[in-house]
Symmetry: C2
Subunit: 343 residues, 2 copies
């Protein structure tokens, strides 16, 4: 029987567990671990995991696939602790919002016979903890897959299978690309949201501003309610990219400021109309980059790779039997149908 | 019979109509006008108005209360056109997102025997046109009321009654306050949203960024899909405040940039945790400024003032009759009950 270990059972770890259980992987056991035993037991009560491991080392002993869903900064310690205990050929992945540091820690602390493939599902919400977890959190959302340079293609495929099993859309990047793009599309929006809330909150007119605030202010400051631990970890592990993209964001703000200053009605209208059209176009036909993973030659499918990893041959045999029995039943139905039509 | 005229039957004008009809003001007729007759007829079909005026001047002739819900920049022309036709004592209000220019135009173009009281319901969405209108759009939302300096208290009360009739929460400000606060709480969020979308859209990595975008990016760039006409008008009529508050917003962004640059984990955590706590506190207990309108002495209630304005004595008599008949029926029920208890 294959075991998936989930380390960290908050919103994301809990949702991975629920989504995996929803996908009904026969013969797969999901074991969770959380530094806070109470959180782990709650996750089990919500059905996110089949069992709870008492120690991290114990989990590492048994799991063929480990998903690390702790805060980013804590991952280094997790690698150090599980490294010596992991099985030969085990696959380790994570869900961190930044990838450069995480891949460096993995290559430094995990043994060479273990495969690390970074992951980052682009989903979340403000609530935290396993009680906020949802089986559908990743449905249709991009799931970044960031292999280490020496990652074994089979393990990359297995993590791609995990991404699909939880409902995500795999999206391949290297760590540098990931962290630059995540800064632009995810971390600067977080900074923009925090700054917007602080702008109003730090003003002497805050009581008036708060009384007047409509849905726009609430929606745009939503990310300022996210987990402080996560923001803290993102700021610490994506410093250079954040600096670069905040500067570019300020550049965009100054362009709009100049435009307003210009008092040129036509230029103002053209600029805002262009942005509106482009955003509508983006919502209607979002550009999609090809998934290079699809082009890997002569590899088992991601689903197959994921199952191979989890299962071992016993489960594969059972799956084959199940498939045969399904095919047998289909053939039988077919025969019955034909007989009925003749009557 | 009192007539409310609504000029401009898009999202806001249409929603005012629907909300007024929902409030079932007996004996009140709602007549709409739109430069685009097709829009006006659509609004009528959706039930936002009882009738459609063919000319603006004709509407001005008959309405005791006129709500101007055109784009801001068009309001000047509307004032010029209706000014000479308005009835003595008519009340004119608007729904513009900025108030300084609008009040200047009103004082310049409306005759002295007409009362102008600015209004700004803090509600909206990206969709435009009467088909997007909703009776509940203003429910529980702040509704700014910005009287001109020489506004008659009775007409201020009438517009407060209108705000309440459509479900809003009246909130009093003067024009300068309004435009400064609206810049901070509503127009800078719009600019922040447009800049965030442009940042990603103008990048060479746009296809990758768009593929990777999660809900955060979508939510934070929502306002960039708003009506370009509205953004254009806001930028043109609130230039000075926008410049000031964009600079302060950039100041907040630079503070976060410096914080990230500092690499000081404790300071970073403290800062983001503080913002998170403050935003939760704001959501749980939003500060509310007192409504000075409540303290006007010896005035009819806003609802009464609104009805007085719309109604004229005939309707008031009918209302009194209805009240008497209700009281009569209540007394009758009371008698019946007592009789039954004796049996």
């Amino acid at each position: 029987m294959g075991t998936v270990g989930i380390v960290g059972l908050g919103l994301i770890g809990g949702s991975i567990g629920l989504a995996l259980k929803r996908s009904k992987l026969a013969g797969t056991q999901i074991v969770g671990y959380d530094r806070d035993l109470d959180v782990a037991l709650r996750a089990q009560r919500f059905g996110a995991v089949d069992g709870v491991g008492r120690t991290l080392a114990g989990l590492a002993d048994t799991a063929g696939l480990i998903v690390i869903a702790t805060p980013i900064v804590a991952m280094r310690g997790v690698f150090a602790e599980i490294g010596p205990r992991l099985q030969q050929g085990a696959v380790v992945t994570d869900v961190a919002s930044t990838k450069g540091e995480v891949l460096r820690w993995a290559s430094e602390l995990l043994p060479a016979y273990v495969h690390f493939v970074g992951g980052h599902p682009m989903a979340g919400k403000e609530q935290t903890g396993p009680q906020a977890a949802e089986a559908g959190l990743f449905d249709g959302r991009p799931y970044c897959i960031v292999p280490s340079l020496d990652a074994h293609p089979g393990s990359v495929n297995a993590v791609m299978g995990l991404a699909e099993a939880v409902g995500g859309v795999p999206f391949f990047l290297d760590a540098d690309e990931h962290d630059a793009y995540a800064a632009a599309i995810s971390h600067v929006p977080l900074v923009a949201s925090v700054a917007l809330f602080s702008l109003a909150r730090n003003s002497n007119a805050w009581p008036e501003l708060a009384s007047m605030a409509g849905t726009g202010f609430k929606d745009l400051t939503r990310l300022a309610s996210g987990s402080p631990e996560m923001s803290h970890d993102i700021f610490l592990t994506n410093k250079k990219n954040l600096g670069h993209w905040i500067d570019r964001y300020i550049g965009e703000l100054l362009k709009i400021r100049d435009l307003i200053e210009s008092d040129d009605p036509e230029a103002i209208f053209r600029a805002v109309a262009e942005v509106q059209i482009e955003r509508e176009e983006y919502l209607a036909n979002p550009p999609r980059r090809e998934v290079p993973g699809d082009t890997l030659p002569d590899m088992p499918s991601p689903q197959q790779a994921f199952l191979n990893l989890l299962a071992g041959s016993m489960w594969m045999d059972r799956a084959r039997e199940m498939t045969q029995s399904l095919e047998e039943r289909a053939r039988q139905r077919d025969r019955d149908d034909r007989l009925r039509r003749r009557e």
